[in-house]
Subunit: 194 residues, 2 copies
């Protein structure tokens, strides 16, 4: 089995950047945008749709959940989930790597030698970061963060029956706001090397 680092993260905590730095240092690949492209290729779904619906429940909650289901109770999101799952399993079978988000920790539970990471940070530190990285919008950053967190959590719980952000599900959890992005990456590399 390949060694795979999975990075779950709160929106705006810098988890993706940490994933990239770790991969660079270890000389392995980091799957984030590449994962979306691969899923798009295999599913025919648009990248924007995958970005949004491969990790987040729709904004309108229950309505979006029950709407759009066929006679067997399957939604388009379920179909996306199936393809995403397959793509992640194939990647992990091929090579050691870093995978950011998309429930990879759950999907690969018995299919790779996992180092499961959770990155979080305070609301203030994340708010500062998203304005910096993604720019201002009409919506207050705190509101954007709360909405993203809520929908990511709901998605995770629907498909994995685990509690997103529960400390017990991760081998290591780090506060990137206090520890710093680079130091987080260093520690993860050290653990990976064993």
């Amino acid at each position: 089995m390949n060694k795979v680092i999975t990075i779950s993260r709160e929106f705006g905590s810098g988890g993706r950047t940490i994933g990239r730095k770790v991969a660079l240092k270890l000389g392995i690949k980091c799957y984030d945008q590449e994962l979306i492209e691969e899923i798009a290729k295999q599913s025919g779904f648009a990248e924007e749709y995958i970005k949004e619906r491969g990790e987040y429940m729709a904004s309108s909650g229950i309505g979006a959940f029950f709407g759009g289901r066929d006679y067997n109770g399957h939604s388009i999101q379920d179909e996306l989930w199936g393809i995403q799952r397959q793509v992640i399993e194939n990647i992990a079978e091929k090579e050691p790597c870093v995978i950011v988000g998309r429930c990879a920790d759950y999907i690969l539970k018995d299919k790779a030698e996992l180092l499961t990471v959770f990155i979080h940070s305070s609301m203030e530190s994340r708010a500062a970061r998203i304005v910096n990285v993604y720019g201002e919008t009409d919506e207050a950053p705190e509101k954007r963060l709360k909405d993203k967190d809520k929908r990511r959590k709901a998605f995770y719980q629907l498909y994995t029956d685990l509690k997103w952000g529960d400390v017990r599900n991760y081998q290591i959890a780090l506060d990137s706001g206090i520890i710093g992005i680079d130091k987080c990456a260093d520690i993860i590399c050290e653990l990976y090397r064993g």
Copy 2:
């Protein structure tokens, strides 16, 4: 303000051992048994009582909670809490150190430069550890662990209004069963050194 490492831990996860190793490596003191002795000296309570009621709600739950309160609604446990709080504040004021358990993370929030750690481990790994460290009892180890976890959590929530074991409350959380006691200690030392 002094640099203080606080270690919160699931029962049987080896958090106390990790605290001792970290302190030894850093050449600072680790307060665990010493804390209990100090609280005993200042309060007149027996060490066994402090060990049990300075971190755990009584077994009988609601009954124990409402029973034993005076006309002002204070219980003996509240009195112990007040003294414990004072002892922890005094220690942190005096020197950099490691403090194991006893809500020190909450008590010292604005009173020390904190590195807040949470140590956890799977039920199986903790069960194996407690039989090894504390010996067999009539009660199954899993039952002992669940009971201890539940009462520690309840205590923490009563006195701190924070959620014990919520990943967001700790700068670093580690699975000692997978990562190993020594490696956990190494990582904490590295973070402390900055």
